[in-house]
């Protein structure tokens, strides 16, 4: 549940989601669920000339199973809190 909780903290931040078909979508994180499905708002595809397939899409739902990377804003990560949470998770607490 750590990553679910972690992504919930990032709601409202601008992220780039790279998919397993090489498509990269940038947008504001709207919500996440237990499967790490992601909903983005104000989306745009990073390379629109190469990938014009989503030109008329501004809000989208991305299935968690096709996400390769999520690029986060640097200020979206509080390393100390993440360290603590990771250790707690590892201890099974």
């Amino acid at each position: 549940m750590l990553f679910f909780s972690y992504f919930k903290e990032l709601v409202g931040k601008e992220v780039t989601v790279e998919l397993k078909n090489d498509l990269a979508i940038r947008g504001t994180l709207h919500s996440v669920d237990q499967y790490l499905n992601i909903k983005l708002e104000n989306t745009r595809v990073v390379d629109q000339d190469k990938y014009p397939h989503m030109l008329s899409v501004r809000n989208c739902f991305i299935r968690g199973s096709v996400v390769r990377y999520v690029q986060l804003p640097p200020d979206g990560v509080d390393i100390d809190i993440l360290h603590d949470a990771t250790r707690r998770e590892a201890r099974g607490a």
Binding site: L19, N21, L23, D33, Q34, H53, S56
Partner: protein
């Protein structure tokens, strides 16, 4: 889960689905479940190629299994009607490789 990214808000709206094999299917969302299985009405496939503009194939009522879905996008009708699909050329999307 109240804040989850369900598809409730998209029901009866036109959506654009990208499947794991790189296809793009546009239709009206009629239903869905937790596994992202979806029911699309009045659907058509948009076939992208570099040799000619986008071809639209009529599919009708369609059920897509969640396993096969990459992205479900809310289609902005205004933006969509401003696109000239017959002039749009692009490689088809690559399939998802897990």
């Amino acid at each position: 889960m109240a804040t989850g990214p369900g598809l409730e808000s998209l029901v009866d709206q036109t959506i654009s689905v990208i499947t794991n094999d790189g296809r793009n299917i546009v239709g009206v969302l009629k239903g869905f479940d937790q596994a992202t299985n979806i029911i699309l009405d009045e659907s058509h496939e948009r076939v992208y190629s570099t040799k000619e503009g986008v071809q639209q194939l009529v599919l009708g009522l369609y059920i897509i299994r969640g396993d096969n879905i990459s992205v479900v996008g809310e289609l902005d009708e205004e933006l969509d009607s401003s696109l000239d699909l017959s002039k749009l050329r692009a490689h088809p999307l690559k399939p998802v490789i897990h």
